[in-house]
């Protein structure tokens, strides 16, 4: 019992730290990766001792983006505009960040691992209704941006807040429909069970990932996820050419940094969710508990601990790859117009999600009655 409680606490902290680390990676990728994509030099200043230069290493601007930028942000004046609702203006960034952070804890990042005779679940909170939990926390996340926009006493902010709220509610629907199709396929609301259900292969070689069983749901969920995290091409709430910065126009210093962190954390969360539902979570293709069963009949034995660690690494690699992919999308596509955004959400994604759900339900029932 105590081992379970301790491991659960450790896992929660670990999971939130992974989320924060991914956010830091995304912050760096935002600076340097975008420069790479747009053929610029990007952040390259402010090494501390010049040591790297003496050794002939290129200055990647790691220290100024990851150390000095945050220090600068958190030591800036914390400005609250005249006539703003002071209490809500201060509360809003944290209301935005909190739901994202608590969502990380339900994501399984590995199968069980046995240490010292204890079977430990590599998941901080094993809820049997985890899918509902994530929909609930994502739904609560709307308040942060909505109230940030309203409490700033600024029309750009309010417009940004309203846009963000309408967008998030619209795309939540598509997201939910895609998830229902996945739930119907795997027959459970438990994320760990959904990942376990993605083990094994079809036709002797194709992994049973959600990507292959639910390709349409994958596209819908990915699109809705990007829209939900308010990134380009769906960054209408903060479109700087029209709304200055949207709902966080009137934020400065640390609170603005919290909003930026929320954006990055949401992107990391979307990557983790897509990995869990569609890329097989911690599953490595053809790797089972006892080792690799390669297509063609070859078999490589692996110790149990190595299998567990390979699972964790596979999860992290998939999430990182998806983060980079989302970054590529962000720096490649132009922004939608607001009516296009709403049309895509309501007239394309929602009907597609419904059709997908209908077909999935039909196939599941047909498969159930056939067996």
């Amino acid at each position: 019992m105590t081992v379970e409680i301790i491991s659960s606490i450790v896992m929660s902290v670990l999971m939130i730290l992974i989320g924060l680390q991914l956010s830091v990676f995304l912050l760096y990728f935002e600076r340097k990766g975008s420069a790479l994509i747009q053929d610029r030099v990007g952040a390259n200043r402010a090494g501390i001792t010049g040591l790297g230069k003496k050794l002939g290493l290129p200055n990647l601007g790691i220290i100024n983006t990851l150390v000095f930028d945050p220090i600068k942000m958190f030591t800036k004046e914390d400005f609250v505009p005249d006539g703003a609702d002071k209490f809500l203006h201060t509360l809003a960034p944290f209301l935005a960040l909190f739901p994202v952070m608590i969502t990380f804890v339900v994501i399984p990042f590995g199968d069980t691992i046995s240490i010292g005779g204890h079977e430990i679940q590599l998941q901080a909170a094993n809820l049997n209704a985890a899918v509902l939990y994530l929909l609930a926390t994502i739904g609560i996340g709307v308040y942060g941006v909505a109230l940030a926009g309203w409490s700033s006493n600024n029309r750009w902010s309010l417009l940004g807040g309203i846009r963000a709220t309408a967008q998030m509610i619209s795309y939540e629907l598509a997201m939910g429909l895609a998830l229902i199709a996945v739930i119907t396929t795997y027959g459970t609301l438990d994320l760990q069970e959904i990942v376990r259900g993605q083990g094994g292969v079809y036709f002797g070689w194709l992994p049973r990932w959600g990507l292959f069983t639910q390709p349409l749901a994958f596209i819908i969920f990915m699109t809705a996820g990007v829209a939900e995290s308010k990134r380009v091409p769906f960054d209408l709430p903060e479109s700087e050419s029209e709304l200055i910065l949207g709902y966080f126009t009137e934020y400065s210093g640390g609170k603005q940094a919290v909003f930026m962190l929320t954006d990055f954390a949401e992107q990391a969360l979307v990557a983790m969710l897509v990995t869990t539902f569609f890329l097989g979570g911690w599953q490595v293709p053809w790797l089972y508990r006892d080792g690799f069963h390669l297509p063609g009949g070859a078999f490589i034995v692996m110790p149990a601990l190595a299998v567990s660690i390979a699972g964790i690494l596979a999860f992290l690699i998939k999430v990182l790859a998806l983060c980079v992919f989302l970054g590529l999308v962000r720096w490649t596509l132009p922004r939608f117009r607001y009516d296009q955004l709403m049309r895509l959400g309501w007239k394309v994604l929602v009907p597609l999600g419904l059709i997908n759900l209908l077909v999935t339900a039909f196939l599941v029932v047909a498969a159930g009655s056939a067996s």
């Binding site: 049997n128 209704a129 509902l132 939990y133 308040y143 909505a146 309010l158 509610i169 117009r337």
Partner: protein
Amino acid sequence: MAIWLFVFLAVISIVSALGVVIQRNPVHCLLALVLTLLALAVMFIALDATVVGFLQIIVYAGAIMVLFLFVIWLLNLQAETGPTGGLALKFFGTIATAALVAELWMFLLRPHLKIKYVGEAAGYGSLSVLAQKLFTDYLVAFEATSILLLAAIVGAVALARRPPTQRESAPGSLS
């Protein structure tokens, strides 16, 4: 549910429910209502009614309250200053409140309400049990409700539709 958890959640829900009626700024009232709903949802979850608890958060706290927020913004409601309502309103308000309190008091004192919580079979609040009940015992009520909701959706779409002439006059409009 442990007693300390119940006391904690009860205090939060009562204080925030008071906040809904006492505060003058409608947005603050709305936030207090969200807090009340969240505390109730956690109470449901602590009573093993997990699905009901999460649905309460998704539907009420996540969707309906956001709709309320939109309505507040749309009507541009400001914080009310000064006393609200006339003397007559206060008079009848007091009488109505007293009647409600008396009624609740009498209802709660009735002997058959002093029931001890005995607990249900494990997993009674899980989705599979809920769905089983919903699609067997309560199928007619469930279908009737879904028809009602469908009618409401169709009605909302019909009301929100712009007349065709207006649409033709503004080709490629951004709205």
